[in-house]
């Protein structure tokens, strides 16, 4: 059973988003997604300064099994990509909601964050997917 933290928001495509105290949004992929992908071997995170639109593919995670796009949950400007993932892509496997974060975005409109799936809705979507 995968871990779905109650304080995060999610996309159906298995990204998570966390609203930080400074108003930025941290983005990664869910525990379910890392389990399904298996061992991560490469991560291409976006560079700071890049403009992204909600729903835009802006990072790539590649595992031994498959490559997968990571979609931005909100529109805004990337303020940081996780540089540690370059040398340690396995951080996504070991700590998907912590050290395995992928990018941090300053959103144009915080309402986009509020409209994302909450933990219950995402857990329900996962249950529907696996049944």
């Amino acid at each position: 059973m995968s871990n779905v933290p109650a304080d995060l928001r999610f996309l159906k495509s298995h990204e998570w988003a966390r609203l930080e105290a400074d108003g930025t949004i941290t983005v990664g992929i869910s525990d379910h997604a890392q389990q399904a992908l298996g061992d991560l071997v490469f991560v291409e995170a976006p560079e700071a300064g890049r403009r992204v639109a909600a729903g835009e593919a802006c990072a790539v995670v590649e595992s031994v099994k498959a490559a997968s796009d990571v979609y931005s949950p909100v529109s805004g400007e990337v303020v940081a990509g996780n540089a540690d993932l370059g040398g340690q892509p396995e951080l996504i496997n070991t700590d998907p909601y912590g050290a395995g974060w992928i990018m941090r975005i300053r959103p144009d409109d915080k309402a986009q964050f509020a409209a994302l799936l909450d933990a219950n809705a995402y857990a329900a979507a996962l249950a529907a997917e696996t049944h």
Partner: protein, 347 residues
């Protein structure tokens, strides 16, 4: 779990990369019961196999000795790749792939009558491959002492059995030392549990694929099939051209292809950039032509992506691969990439 030739098989038990390293550094095991053991018996079984296989079983002189071969259609396409064991003058044993089992049996039976050979698939047997530098010593502790002694004395590509349908061969699909152990299916769950207790790591299809690819070994259905001849998939070494008067099935077509010039060849690729080669990606050889990745993966030993690819025969040392809309540089190398735990190509 995935469907593999009608068998439910795990891609990985835990971390695929850790399973891979367990085999390279210590000992891992694979449930390969999906592979089909076929016993072939008859007074003329040797003549029969000399006709059906592109490699020559006349090379097998000592009981227990094994040979890797392709079985070909008349037009030279590969029906299957297999291992055949010489057990006695009336008895050879073949191990064939799961996905090709039905057509293999059909082909074997279609030609058996003329030679008076019986074709018996051994559905009563299961198989575990125990692979890695410590695999044999770990597994040997589980065998009856005199059988263990015989099994430990086996040279590479030899097998030996007991009188209870157990058979151990020093073969594998990983580039490491190890055994493939055939036992009655009724015993296999217990053998698996005992191997696990002896410190052998369970490994899934995922690690099996990265290990065989590092070892430069072909996968039937990916790297070759009936549209490809052994000359085009890196298996020219398995064709026994001598003696010239042995008329194996496919010989005429291969001879003609060789005379005409083989247009494609199989090579190994090592990707310079950070991405992963996957099957069916397009290979571009500037000023020469195009080819295709036939199987690709991330190599845990090299920590880079590697692949087998079919490319124009004039290809030399560099090419480009189209990955997600970009052209990335790859070095063309001669497999294996890894052998006995050591990197075997220049990096």
């Amino acid at each position: 779990m995935v469907d593999f030739g009608g068998w439910d098989m795990p891609v990985n038990y835990g971390s695929q990369i850790e399973e891979h390293h367990a085999v390279r550094r210590d000992a891992g095991m694979f449930d390969v019961s999906h592979m089909c053991v076929v016993d072939l018996r008859g007074d003329r079984v040797r003549d029969y196999l000399r006709r059906l296989l592109a490699n020559d079983v006349a090379k097998l002189k000592e009981p227990g000795k094994a040979l890797y071969s392709c079985m070909l259609r008349e037009h030279g396409g590969v029906i299957d790749d297999l291992i055949v064991y010489f057990l006695d003058d009336r008895w050879f044993r073949m191990v064939v792939n799961a996905g090709t089992r039905d057509k293999d049996l059909e082909w074997l039976r279609a030609h058996a009558g003329h030679y008076g050979v019986s074709v018996e698939p051994r559905f009563d047997l299961a198989m575990i491959a125990v692979q890695g530098p410590n695999a044999r010593t770990r597994a040997a502790t589980l065998l009856e002492p005199s059988f263990a002694e015989r099994a430990l004395a086996l040279g590479n590509f030899y097998g030996t059995g007991d009188d209870q349908h157990r058979f151990v061969a020093r073969t594998g699909y990983t580039g490491e030392d190890g055994w493939e152990m055939m036992v009655p299916a009724t015993e296999v769950a217990e053998l698996w549990a005992r191997l696990r207790a002896a410190g052998v790591t369970p490994c899934g299809l995922g690690a099996r694929d990265t290990l065989r690819l590092e070892a430069g070994m072909n996968l039937y259905g990916s790297d070759m099939d009936e549209t490809v001849s052994p000359l085009e998939c890196g298996l020219a070494w398995t064709i026994a051209w001598e003696p010239q008067d042995r008329h194996f099935t496919g010989r005429a077509a291969l001879t003609e292809q060789k005379a005409r010039g083989v247009p494609r060849k199989q090579v190994g690729l090592v990707l310079s950039d950070r991405a992963v080669l996957r099957s069916h990606q397009k290979v571009i050889v500037p000023a020469v032509g195009e080819g295709e990745v036939t199987s690709g993966t991330f190599s845990p030993t090299l920590e880079r992506s590697i692949a087998l690819a079919r490319v124009p025969s004039q290809t030399t040392d560099r090419c480009e691969v189209e990955i997600r809309g970009r052209l990335l540089n790859a070095a063309v190398v001669r497999p294996p990439f890894v052998r006995h735990g050591k990197i075997a190509i220049p990096v």
